[in-house]
């Protein structure tokens, strides 16, 4: 599903002493099936942008187009419920929102709320649990008896069970151990591909942006600061540092290597093994 922001402004508590412009003249277009990373320092407008995606808030001016749905100022979206069905948001620490007696009921809550037939719900619960790698034997357990990583999977399965076309992920790996982080991100990437989702990842991790995203949006003080492929955005370290961000560690290391050896060592879409080859060549060069 395509997502288009056209000159979106969003102002909190307008016409009051607390007036605060959270988004300013924000325009961008995300084609259906893309994987976009949104980065920005705390207070850059990421969360406000996110709340527009399923109509939790409407722009103060400008418009937001999500598939067939349009969000405009002062006009209640016609089918807000339909929009929310299509845009699944995994909030930060989603496991804090679990509340049902069993894993099964928790996963079923979303689709049940949207009026999906019971037979279909049962099918979706199983599918979603499998998609996030939860053993079906856990379905009858209380979600509160599970480990943190499992609880997060239950919460994510609940979002998937509604069968969204757009998946919005707000810092989905926070608090997980390194293996858990990679498993969850790999799982989202697989779902993104398999279900041809349009995925939006809000993250502090430049590494994740580089690994998973094909498009990147950098926000600063509510405005679009940079946009492009991650590799392109990461070419300009200085610009990112000006807004208190940085490039992934591999780019930092390449920059230091270039300086030390007085020779440009470029990023070649690599993993550490490719980088090691480059370095081996460099170190093996005859000293002039």
């Amino acid at each position: 599903m395509d997502i288009t922001f056209k000159q979106v402004d969003y102002t909190y508590q307008a016409n009051s002493p607390f007036e605060h412009k959270a988004l300013k003249n924000l325009s961008f277009h995300l084609p259906g099936g893309s994987f976009t990373a949104i980065v920005g320092h705390t207070g850059s407008g990421k969360s406000t942008l996110l709340q527009h995606l399923n109509g939790l808030v409407r722009p103060t001016s400008g418009s937001v187009q999500i598939g067939e749905h349009t969000l405009e100022p002062k006009k209640k979206p016609k089918q807000a419920k339909e929009l929310r069905k299509q845009v699944g948001i995994v909030f930060q620490y989603p496991e804090h929102q679990l509340f049902e007696e069993t894993v099964e009921k928790d996963i079923a809550f979303g689709p049940r709320n949207f009026g999906v037939a019971e037979k279909e719900i049962a099918k979706r619960v199983k599918e979603s649990a499998a998609a996030v790698g939860l053993d079906l034997s856990l379905l009858s357990r209380s979600p509160f008896e599970l480990s943190g990583g499992q609880m997060r999977r239950v919460a994510i399965a609940g979002v998937l069970a509604v069968r969204p076309r757009v998946l919005v992920l707000d810092e989905p790996t926070a608090g997980l151990d390194p293996r858990g982080q990679q498993e969850i991100m790999d799982m989202f990437y697989r779902l993104h591909k398999e279900q041809q989702l349009t995925t939006i990842l809000v993250t502090h991790s430049m590494e994740d942006a580089l690994t998973y995203a094909d498009h990147m949006l950098v926000l600063d003080k509510g405005e679009k600061y940079m946009e492009g492929t991650p590799v392109k955005v990461f070419q300009d370290r200085q610009a990112l540092q000006q807004v208190q961000l940085d490039v992934p560690e591999i780019f930092q290391f390449l920059q230091k290597t270039s300086e030390r050896f007085g020779k440009q060592v470029a990023y070649e879409g690599e993993n550490v093994d490719r980088l090691a080859e480059q370095l081996a060549d460099l170190a093996g060069d005859k000293h002039e």
Partner: protein, 277 residues
């Protein structure tokens, strides 16, 4: 005398239930920085809760500055062991930064004049003295955690525990906290225990204790630990970028004399190789 000593500590929440910690023994010296790592559910946070009496061992003994911890002396122990938790929003009680730092002091009946001194000096140590009358909830995550650290410093503990205190922060906030903690720890010779998933944070510690399934997997120095990349990955952990790169270089036939722990050490080693060609 150790700042903290665990002697054969085991813990389970209830009889019948499985142990979450089994036979854990280690020591932290005064002025030492120990990082504790381990997969989710490995027992790291249980250790933290045992250290300041939020939980008590099922078996074994915990000794803080020579005093065995028990239910009678927990209030004294809590003055000596300060804790900073993960979520910056869950640990504020005051409506201003100053009130918040004062809270712990008031609880302990510190006289007013001394309280003012301690608030000022602890906020100076975390470089938040200019925010005395600010409302905590308007601060950034990194600033909030610095105020939380000031609140702990104000009661002059001998050990500070950071339980995933940087996990919810952005990279800049993380750096702020680590720089602050590093500075305070060195200046005051505090014992410091950081419980973390952040590998670059681990590399700065003096020693590292690795937990796996409720048991100590190893206690070593960071430089030695990262040599065991494959094993670490098997227990759900990882090694920093620079270690991964050093291992990839080995696969290219380049062996470094010493395991590098940061970019500069690795670049130095490569430069030496290059210069000797």
């Amino acid at each position: 005398m150790y700042a903290i000593e665990f002697k054969n500590v085991s813990f389970r929440y209830e009889e019948e239930q499985p142990y979450v910690l089994r036979n854990v023994s280690f020591q932290v010296e005064a002025g030492e920085w120990l990082a504790i790592i381990g997969h989710n559910g490995s027992g790291k946070s249980t250790i933290a809760k045992l250290m300041n009496g939020l939980l008590f061992p099922t078996e074994g003994e915990i000794i803080i500055n020579g005093i065995p911890l028990n239910e009678e002396n927990i209030w004294e122990i809590r003055r000596q062991v300060g804790m900073v938790f993960q979520n910056p929003d869950n640990q504020f009680v005051g409506t201003t930064v100053r009130d918040d730092v004062a809270f712990g002091l008031e609880n302990r009946g510190v006289p007013r004049a001394e309280m003012m001194d301690r608030i000022t000096s602890s906020l100076e140590q975390v470089r938040m003295q200019d925010y005395l009358l600010h409302e905590p909830y308007r601060l950034s995550g990194g600033q909030k955690q610095r105020v939380a650290i000031a609140g702990v410093l104000a009661i002059s503990p001998s050990v500070i525990i950071l339980d995933e205190a940087t996990a919810m922060l952005d990279p800049l906030g993380r750096k702020e906290i680590l720089d602050t903690v590093h500075h305070v720890q060195a200046a005051q010779q505090l014992g410091l225990i950081t419980i973390t998933h952040d590998l670059n944070e681990v590399m700065q510690a003096h020693r590292v204790l690795v937990m796996n399934d409720g048991e100590i997997w190893t206690t070593t120095v960071p430089r030695e630990l990262v040599k065991r990349q494959t094993e670490l990955q098997q227990i759900g952990l990882d090694v920093p970028f620079v270690t991964q790169l050093a291992h990839a270089l080995e696969r290219q036939g380049i062996t470094l004399d010493e395991q590098p722990i940061d970019h500069e050490e690795l670049l130095d080693a490569l430069w030496t190789l290059h210069s000797n060609k």
